[in-house]
Symmetry: C2
Subunit: 410 residues, 2 copies
DNA sequence: CACTGTTATTTATATTTTTTATAAAGGAAG
DNA sequence: CTTCCTTTATAAAAAATATAAATAACAGTG
């Protein structure tokens, strides 16, 4: 076995432990950099070139690494390049959403090796874990993957998820609070569970707009306001994994009642639902708008996206709604910026697709509410990968766990 | 030299680099643990006992480490204990406050080896750097410290300090925006500059109430509201060192005008100044209060501490003021808790000394504004070391820098 | 107080790694 | 096309490190 558990690693002799750690460092570096020369690896892991070579040779013998051509030189002999074998390791990623779940398998080049299969279900489904396992097995067989090469299974889900324990405290059904335990039994692999917004944030950090930003905030702007944070280059989850409850910070003393039971939560004035509420009451009151004709007698089919599209088509009423919502959202964002001084904020979800109709009012509010020195350095951008950032983030997180966290390695 | 610069380390051969890193790891471990056996060191640095022994012997020969007695055993031969020599390294810590500066020197046991000398001055003093240097030199001589054993000089100051560059963007005077540069010239040592609230947070994290809490918030509750954050066990400064502007988050849409130019900042309703304002207007309006007699004709000498003391003596009016301020503060704190899910919040500064008179209204507001799952796990405590947490934090930070950040060491 | 079990320390040997030297491969300049 | 320089690759010598075995120190027990 190339990778072993922490428990097994404890029983290794000093020499074997060193070897194992070096191997993991090499694998981690190859995972992150794709094509590297032996000299670069040697530099990175602070080990002489001959030993680096034997390490690489061992990994080649184990089938995890391969040589792939020769690189460019800046004056001397061209180096042989090494890379991870794409099929050396696989991870299964599962994204649980409100009424559906996505399942997909990635290889060690972060490439999808299966379709993203979507199943209709919900968090309280009686045999969710079993269903997820069955579908995963189907995918493994279809893609003809050797089961032993699956190194980890990851799940993201909404709610208050403590990734250290895998327990979701927002779910009433006790059996599914701790779905990790059930999955562990079924899969017999390393299981990792985290919150959906956090995995999206990691996806943006590694593959998206927040790449290379050590301090980034990613907000999924939809029915709720999911916030994932990258702080000091690390995913931040808080002491019990509940960090990022951006939608339920209270900005109005006597605001609208939120479904969480509190009053004046940001979600009550800056979510998809608030957009719908405003649109519906406007249509009912006979406001002139493009939305009136198609939806007047069919209010229940009105979706937030429709308001966004109408705004893009020039509908003044829709623009004013987005303006209001943007201002409210901006007030919350200003708080975040003052507290965390991020260098980038990435917005995802349907509302973010309103582009300038939403960015302009946000910026307006930030100018009002923030210290100039702090707000002037932050970039606000719209995600380009928010349909898959969660699964990608999960994929990256799993490989981080399996190949060693940068922060873990001593 | 036991410690060298990063630049020098780059020119080391692989073997010497390894040796150097191991030495630093040993020193760091001894700095953190005080008394350890060779076996423990060996474990910690993943190196065999014989080599650990030679490492320790070398460090003893260099005068940085000494044996100090023997430890307890659980059945076998008692181990020889090793510890850092107290006088092996020293750091100079400088705390710049609004109208004064504190200077003190600590040894590698985090012990003060001089008095804490206070000089009257302010950030815009024409020759602040020179004065600080002169006083430091006096202290060095008085304590008979060998100058070569001073390994770093640290400064904390209020404002928007970027600790990576040492520049303070809140100070108008350009020459003193970058006091680090001037100090570097004078001292010729590693200079570290950071924000006051952050250093207090680190002090609490390492020596105070937040010890062993990986996610802690420390608030200095005084004229301003200084926030320092420990997230994932690391000090958090944001992308440009401006994180923690808790006092200037906007919670009231049309609130009081703040000196920062914005309206409705938390500081306008939850700082020392707001306590004074309420007390003064109450006294002027003839409210019955213990404060009336001593201060009626002498309002300018009224201090926030007086209100706190009156409350403790049972003065209803003062209690009601603290109640209001506690509620306002609680609203801000609720936002912090929802976003960051800390396990402890440590309050320092004069207002925090009001104990239950302020904790009760805070808790009340938290119950209203927070999700129960998040607020129920957070402990709110009053600092016991807030008169010296800043210098202590700075001392720890300097040794972290010099002996290698845990996160830096690979 | 001798005996046994346990842990710490030291020494000798075996193993691993680095260093140094040398060869091979390629680029740049004349 | 040759020479010189730089970089990579490999082999052999030298140094550093780990392992294992031996010794020392101590606690508990009969």
């Amino acid at each position: 076995m190339i990778l072993i558990t922490k428990e097994e690693a404890k029983h290794l002799s000093i020499n074997n432990l060193k070897r194992y750690r070096l191997r993991k460092m090499v694998l981690r570096y190859l995972y992150e950099e794709r094509f590297v020369s032996a000299a670069e690896v040697s530099q990175k892991i602070s080990v002489s070139l001959p030993t680096t070579k034997t390490l690489l040779d061992e990994l080649i013998a184990l089938g995890a690494v391969m040589t792939s051509g020769i690189g460019d030189s800046r004056g001397g002999r061209k180096p042989a390049l090494y890379s991870l074998v794409a099929g050396a390791f696989y991870v299964i990623t599962i994204g649980i959403e409100h009424y559906s779940a996505k399942i997909a398998i990635f290889n060690s080049h972060n490439e999808l090796v299966t379709e993203v299969r979507t199943i209709q279900t919900n968090v309280n489904h009686p045999d969710l874990a079993e269903k997820l396992h069955t579908v995963s097995m189907d995918l493994i067989h279809e893609a003809r993957i050797d089961d032993s090469k699956i190194v980890a299974v990851g799940v993201y889900m909404p709610g208050l998820v403590n990734s250290a324990t895998g327990i979701n405290y927002a779910i009433k059904n006790e059996a599914y609070q701790n779905i990790g335990k059930t999955l562990k039994k079924r899969f017999g692999k390393t299981i990792y569970i985290d919150n959906d917004a956090r995995m999206q944030a990691l996806g943006e950090f590694i593959f998206g707009k927040a790449k290379d930003s050590r301090n980034a905030l990613v907000i999924n702007w939809s029915w709720g306001l999911g916030l994932g944070m990258i702080l000091n280059g690390q995913l931040y989850g808080g002491s019990t994994g509940f960090a990022g409850e951006f939608g339920h910070i209270k900005l109005e003393e006597n605001g609208i009642l939120c479904y969480c039971g509190k009053r004046g939560c940001l979600e009550t004035v800056a979510s998809s639902q608030s957009i719908l509420n405003m649109a519906i009451s406007g249509i009912e009151n006979g406001t002139i708008t493009q939305l009136a004709t198609p939806y007047k007698d069919n209010l229940s089919s009105l979706k937030p996206e429709d308001v966004v599209n109408a705004a893009r088509a020039g509908d003044e009423f829709s623009i004013s709604i987005l303006n209001k919502v943007g201002n409210s959202f901006g007030r919350g964002l200003a708080v975040l910026i003052q507290l965390l001084n991020p260098e980038i904020i990435v917005l995802g979800g349907p509302i973010s697709k309103a582009q300038q109709f939403i960015l302009t009012p946000i910026q307006q509010t930030l100018n009002q509410d923030c210290l100039e020195k702090i707000s002037s350095i932050v970039r606000i951008e719209i995600s380009e990968i928010d349909d898959r950032s969660g699964l990608l983030g999960l994929c990256a997180r799993l490989f981080q766990k399996v190949l060693g966290d940068v922060t873990e390695v001593r």
